[in-house]
């Protein structure tokens, strides 16, 4: 019985990690059709923002939950103004530009802080499930994923700003003819997606370690999750991270972490062969 709980917790925290690290990418891709290849570096910047402000003496929770999203959201706002805005509707150019941005960010951070792994211990202890011990931080991560996902969903579903965002996503031309400035909606969306990525980077920092290249470990998985999810950005990301996170974690348990990821990729490939439009191309089509 204990092992069921222990594995269950592990699976849930695997799913939560995938969900958290994919949401920022999903928002930017789902709303703006912009593929942000610097997504992994936004995670990395969030982790650095958290660790540096914590080292400077700030309360660690404030560093992770407030400073990281604010800093990366601000960086996102500047990047949207300088780069993304000039490339709307040019998907390939955007990918190239954000890839360059990704390399530049890795280079800049390496130059300033060095290519060393900075430790950042999980700020909660561990607890026992029968004969197993589990990290309390895993529970916190699951709760954070639920709150973050629920918060974004409620914001889009129930607030006027969310209504403007959803309408603009469906028909930007008509939205502007009714008086909405699409430029502004896109700027806010990109900043919000960046902030979510920054928060995600801070949240995963305690178990991933903080290095300039840490984004590379997450970006592929985030992409696969968003693409497997399909058109409905929230329902898609949620269902895809649920499925792929479970496969990867169980695969890891049964064999090795490497093989767990291989299994996840195989499932994603098979799924996309069967459902080329992603999960939400077939199911939950009317959801967000």
């Amino acid at each position: 019985m204990d092992i069921v709980f222990a594995v269950g917790l592990q699976v849930l925290s695997g799913v939560a990690t995938l969900l958290i690290t994919s949401l920022g990418l999903a928002i930017i891709f789902g709303m703006m059709r912009v593929i942000n290849l610097a997504h992994g570096e936004f995670l990395m910047l969030g982790a650095y923002a958290a660790i540096l402000s914590a080292r400077a003496g700030l309360n660690i929770w404030i560093a992770m939950l407030v400073v990281a999203p604010l800093v990366v959201g601000g960086i996102g706002l500047v990047i949207e103004r300088l780069i993304i805005r000039r490339l709307y509707g040019r998907m390939v150019d955007t990918m190239l530009a954000t890839w360059g941005l990704s390399l530049a960010l890795i280079g800049a951070v390496t130059m300033i802080f060095g290519n060393t792994v900075a430790g950042f211990s999980a700020p909660l202890g561990s607890f026992a499930i029968g004969s197993f011990t589990a990290s309390a931080y895993a529970l916190f991560l699951i709760a954070a994923a639920i709150v973050l996902f629920g918060g974004i969903w409620a914001l889009l579903r129930f607030t006027p700003a969310g209504l403007i965002a959803r309408g603009t996503m469906q028909n930007a031309e008509m939205a502007s003819a009714l008086g909405v400035s699409p430029d502004r909606v896109y700027a806010v969306t990109f900043a919000a997606g960046s902030a979510v990525s920054g928060l995600a980077g801070a949240l995963i920092a305690p178990f991933s370690g903080v290095v300039p290249t840490m984004g590379a470990a997450f970006i592929a998985k985030s992409f696969i999750t968003v693409i497997t999810g399909g058109a409905a950005m929230l329902a898609g990301t949620f269902s895809a991270s649920g499925l792929l996170g479970t496969v990867a974690t169980l695969g890891t348990f049964a064999t090795t972490p490497v093989f767990g990821e291989v299994m996840m990729l195989v499932v994603a490939i098979v799924l996309l062969r069967l459902l080329p439009q992603g999960i939400t191309g077939r199911f939950f089509r009317r959801s967000l």
Partner: protein, 242 residues
């Protein structure tokens, strides 16, 4: 340029790529009137309204709205000045409910501030009682006639002073066309609206417009005499004479 003109369009040129559609269109809308622009397909009716709204760049020419040059403004700025747009094909947000479509029209200009949006919704539902039972349906699930009403109601939620209507009768049953004409008459009086209507349905223009102009190959022709407007054969002769 006269004092009574609400909107003046002068020598407007626009189109898609190198293909010119509007070739120097000029006309004025008088405050309070409904001006009909009649023309066959491909004569530039939709291009004219899209250029006035700023959805299509104007290559040359001028557009003045209430004394202000607007031809270089962004679309949303023109909407905020008081232009309302009911496009061809209705362009309802398909995954938003009818209520959300209407609310969108009410809050779009304030950038999402919700002040007074519920009052606007209540008032517009008084004008469009048939939308009440549809409020929670997705806009994409409505019939063509219902979508047309919704598009009109959504535009009115933004309190425009000049309404641009692009072929409101397209794809609508004849019985609903008559009802819509009556509805527009009524709304015009109550909201103090000016209307610019482009149509190829002669009956609809005759029923609603104070005056009618002809659009032909991207230029605005003479005013169609009211006597001619009453008689389809005379209109055909008039068009042939242009």
């Amino acid at each position: 340029m006269s004092d009574t003109a609400m909107m003046e369009v002068a020598e407007l040129v626009s189109g898609y790529g190198r293909i010119g559609v509007l070739r120097g269109a000029s006309f004025a809308v008088v405050r309070g009137e409904c001006l009909g622009i009649l023309g066959h397909n491909g004569m530039g009716k939709t291009t004219l309204l899209r250029t006035i709204m700023g959805l299509l760049a104007c290559q040359s020419g001028r557009i003045r709205f209430e004394g202000r040059a607007i031809e270089r403004l962004a679309t949303h700025q023109r909407a905020r000045l008081g232009l309302g747009y009911v496009p061809q094909g209705r362009q309802i947000f398909p995954a938003l409910t009818v209520r959300e479509n209407l609310l969108f029209g009410g809050i779009a200009k304030s950038g999402g501030a919700k002040s007074g949006a519920d009052d606007i919704l209540a008032r517009i539902l008084g004008d469009f009682p048939e939308l009440k039972r549809l409020l929670d349906r997705p806009g994409g699930a409505l019939s063509g006639g219902e979508q047309q009403l919704l598009a009109l109601a959504r535009a009115l939620c933004g309190k425009p002073r000049l309404l641009l209507l692009d072929e409101p009768t397209e794809g609508i049953q004849p019985s609903i066309i008559a009802a819509m004409s009556e509805r527009l008459h009524d709304l015009r009086a109550r909201y103090g609206l000016s209307i610019l209507l482009v149509e190829q349905n002669l009956d609809f223009i005759r029923g609603l417009a104070n005056r009618a102009l002809l659009i032909h190959r991207g230029q605005i022709g003479r005013e169609i005499p009211p006597a001619a407007l009453a008689d389809p054969t005379l209109v055909e002769e008039f068009i042939a004479a242009v």
